[in-house]
Subunit: 352 residues, 2 copies
DNA sequence: TTGTAAGCGTTATCAC
DNA sequence: GTGATAACGCTTACAA
């Protein structure tokens, strides 16, 4: 096993000092051309690469971004990571992933594990449990220690950091308006409990669209799904709830669902109830992923441009990291940006 | 901004030496109880955490695993990562992700970026381009430098490392046999070009099943798909090829597809051709993900247990890393394991 | 019981 | 031109 080659080793081998080697490799003209060439040739031959860890320690910069997400087996999040990786790599950064699995304590643990020098900054989306507890001390402490955070999608307004979100409210409003314009008169929504802020916003968009279009609001057409129903592919409870809603309110002719799974489940139940899509029932989902594209019928949905979200989050973070190199603490009070990525309604077969 | 607290800082504050602080925090009884308590109280109060980078440099261990995968927006790979993360976290390791995007040069670049001290070992699945070029020097060099690799799914036999694979051949053989037992007489396969080893193995399993069951082999029932056809949700070329095969061979009553997308596309085309599934045509896919579970009709498929693959890969790597601490170089010639994760046929609606 | 010093691999400052 | 030295934050013989 070839030992990993270091400056020290090269120095010994060539009978020069470590600093001479270091300078030669940086092509410093303090060093004679002869020595430089000798050193460079040797280094190239043995494929010398400076040790990242030593550099990190010296520079107090790891060139690594920590990403904490609630779930990775999920089209939206993995696409966001794809976007983050794309920009990070391009700008010379690595990406380290931590999964919270929607758990508060895993989120805290993961952040502590990474915050001790392993990374330069965080990109994250808040876990459901954290949102429900509303305990954000770990974010504030991280920021207080001078480590910047960029939040995306599931963000918390009170935290001082950059944020990348989609126009959840407007996106769902447009979706519901599309249903209205396609002739739906009794539109239901399948959404999350309100502590998930994006769910709450999408519900708000639904209500707003109905109000503005003078459609009656009916509480029995608003289904707020218990989170556990989604766990472990166990969709039966969800199916029952949807079936119950569809049967007790046979006038429903349009459903807006705040994510893909809810939307597909609606279609599944509708099929069981012999409702034709889109003739009898039109369906729109939120978050345009493989499931929407491959559903039967294909699902009209609100695209969040997940990749773009990741790219912008990475850009915001890296910009801030590299800004810090120049500007100093005086900037403490600087502004944080909240960037809104526009959603887009992708029309497919599940609507008229 | 609170500066990050270090041993040095505590030492100065408490008027003791750095080593006293270090020892106190480790509860060494070299140090008087009084001093220990004082230091520990102070450290706890200011929430001292040792700097990972410094530890890494000192210990020549980063407690970080590098994972290089061809694609992240993909149920199989993200589920593998989930498994890796699960074990890694449990054993105190972080996970750093690099995406090759199926490109040889990105794979090499990513590995070089991480191999210089950032990680202790790799878990990876080979990119298609690398498989096609058959240029594996970067793997061999990494291993020669003493950095262990564990390969999964898309592996290369000639590389000296641990591997985790599924029984691709047996899995597809069983799938095809299931079709035979369900009454299919003319079974087609939609597979990849042969350089993708898992694709080739699955093709082999198909052929074997037919031979053993005395079914005629017919080249026009073997569709080897050009890779580029999958790019960018643009499946039209794939659809055309499948449609052509189904039309020119109307006797086909069963199709085995080596991944989810191929399988769904088969079902889509079949629907277009007014073939009922499973009455007229039975379909089985490989790789059981959300798409199979949510397809209409739901898709019978061969589950690879992606999470388990990730978990075993992580265990093999970490075991080797921690073994190295004790055993020394004499073990150079030690054996590498190839672990086979059994596949499982999940029967759903697309077969009888 | 406490402190000094070397070392992990680099870079930068300052002497020679 | 070249090299010694200190520093990044930590651990650990070894000295005091």
């Amino acid at each position: 096993m070839k030992k990993k080659i270091t400056l020290k080793l090269i120095a010994k081998e060539l009978n020069v000092s470590i600093s001479t080697v270091s300078k030669s490799l940086k092509n410093s003209k303090e060093i004679s051309e002869e020595t430089r060439e000798k050193v460079q040739a040797f280094a190239k031959f043995y494929n010398y690469k400076p040790n990242n860890i030593a550099l990190s320690l010296k520079n107090k910069k790891t060139k690594t971004i920590g990403v904490i997400i609630p779930e990775i087996v999920h089209y939206f999040f993995s696409k966001v990571i794809f976007g983050i990786e794309h920009i990070a790599n391009q700008r010379g950064y690595n990406v380290i992933i931590g999964l919270s699995n929607e758990s508060f304590s895993k989120e805290v643990l993961n952040m502590e594990m990474l915050a001790n020098g392993s990374i330069d900054g965080f990109i994250l989306s808040i876990s459901k449990e954290t949102l429900e507890k509303r305990d954000f001390h770990h974010f504030n402490e991280t920021i207080a220690q001078g480590m910047p955070i960029v939040m995306f999608d599931r963000v918390e307004d009170s935290i001082k950091c950059d944020k990348v979100i989609v126009d959840d409210l407007l996106g769902s409003k447009k979706a519901v308006e599309k249903l209205i314009n396609s002739g739906c008169n009794h539109i239901a929504i399948v959404t999350t409990k309100d502590f998930v802020n994006v769910g709450a916003l999408r519900t708000k968009g639904y209500i707003l669209a109905l109000e503005e279009n003078k459609k009656a609001l009916n509480d029995s057409l608003i289904l707020k799904v218990e989170d556990s129903e989604l766990i472990d592919d166990n969709l039966t409870q969800l199916e029952q709830d949807i079936e119950h809603m569809l049967i007790s309110n046979p006038e429903i002719d349009g459903v807006f669902a705040v994510n893909e799974i809810y939307a597909l489940t609606v279609m599944k139940v509708a099929r069981k109830l012999k409702k034709r899509i889109p003739e009898d029932l039109q369906v729109i989902g939120f978050s345009d992923g493989v499931l929407s594209q491959n559903a039967v019928p294909t699902l009209t949905s609100v695209s969040q441009h997940a990749q773009k979200i990741g790219e912008r989050a990475a850009e915001l973070l890296i910009n801030r990291l590299e800004l810090e190199d120049y500007e100093e603490e005086e900037m403490e009070l600087e502004r944080y940006e909240t960037e809104v990525i526009e959603t887009e309604l992708i029309e497919r077969e599940s609507t008229k």
